[in-house]
Symmetry: C2
Subunit: 215 residues, 2 copies
């Protein structure tokens, strides 16, 4: 059955998925790169960005699994770009250039309507203004039996967690402290929502934990 | 050089070291046992409580290391007992019976003066009313060159972290979500205080991370 999955989501030891001060210069927030260092070092990440080299092993295998069997993505507007408010006459086209790494339809949550944006490599961005449930319904339909992967940012993941809509949440616990930033679990009672950790896999650059709903 | 260490400190994936509603029936807070399950299962923990059996391996080795080279403890009043306020005429004597597992002097932070309490096995509790710095000075002197181990509760550890007095913080990340409770890092910028994670060790029941100050 098709699932809504969060994969390869880096989290610091103090619970932050992004640093403070996210902007054009700091798309992951100040210091936020550290929670993704485990991924940046893998062969899979390098290959995806046209670079040779990188580590193989558990982290690389898990990084690759995050893209397996994914038929559509949902992302928040903050993951799509740094700008806010109405799109304007020359709107932002994503962080990823003309051939983004998704290669499937991507549904972007926003309050501002916009025509779909078709880039190379099967990357079409659809802008959804009627909320997370509607975005999930459209993404599941587009995924055609495959899973829907939920990207960031933190606010988007928290929104879907609160609604109990996430089937599996894979966190990569990075051996770093950010000190400040956007917290995943603060004031969000995932246990009461039925989420449990069912698997832990140690990697060289992160400890991977898998959380899903039970019962 | 003698250090102030936190050892074997269980933390949930959502950052809680104890559950909500700590009282006589729930000394670890509701659900708080889950963050210590990795320790409860070890041979060392069982032996300490006069029970046979238990797992050997990484978790057991690390549990034992937490007691190596420790010459004194500091604990908060909430770890010493469930009561609050003045001690009264028949004061609480600790959770641990007549032969507690410390076997060295234990300094209890409290606002209420009390004569030292000497129990069996080298367990003498000293009640310190002039604050964490004074407790540390007394504990270091009593430890006579060995380390001082800092127990809980969370408020006590946060207080020493904020003051930059902890030399090493060993967290056992338990594969559990508590949902609510006492957070270790919320609104506490450990990175800005100079703390870094320098070691990760995967165990069967928890992932062990070691945090210390640099520079």
């Amino acid at each position: 059955m098709a699932r809504l999955r969060v994969s390869n989501f880096g989290l610091s030891l103090d619970g932050y998925g992004a640093g403070p001060g996210q902007d054009l210069e700091h798309p992951l927030g100040v210091g936020g790169e550290a929670v993704h260092a485990w991924a940046f070092g893998t062969r899979g990440f390098n290959a995806m960005h046209g670079q040779p080299g990188g580590e193989t092993g558990v982290d690389d295998d898990i990084f690759a699994e995050g893209f397996d069997h994914v038929g559509a993505w949902i992302i928040g507007r903050n993951m799509f770009g740094p700008d806010r408010g109405p799109w304007g006459s020359d709107p932002w086209r994503g962080w990823w250039g003309e051939n983004p790494p998704f290669h499937v339809p991507v549904f972007v949550l926003t309050r501002y309507a916009r025509e779909p944006l078709a880039l190379d490599g099967g990357n079409t961005f659809h802008f959804v203004t009627d909320g997370p449930q509607a975005a999930l319904a459209r993404a599941l339909e587009a995924a055609d039996g495959k899973d829907v992967r939920l990207g960031g940012g933190l606010a988007t993941i928290r929104q879907y967690l609160q609604a109990g809509l996430i089937d599996e949440l894979h966190l990569a616990l990075a051996p770093t402290l950010l000190g400040r930033g956007e917290s995943l679990f603060e004031s969000l009672d995932a246990a009461a929502l039925g989420y449990r950790c069912h698997r832990t896999v140690p990697g060289a650059g992160a400890t991977h934990v898998y959380i899903s709903r039970t019962g």
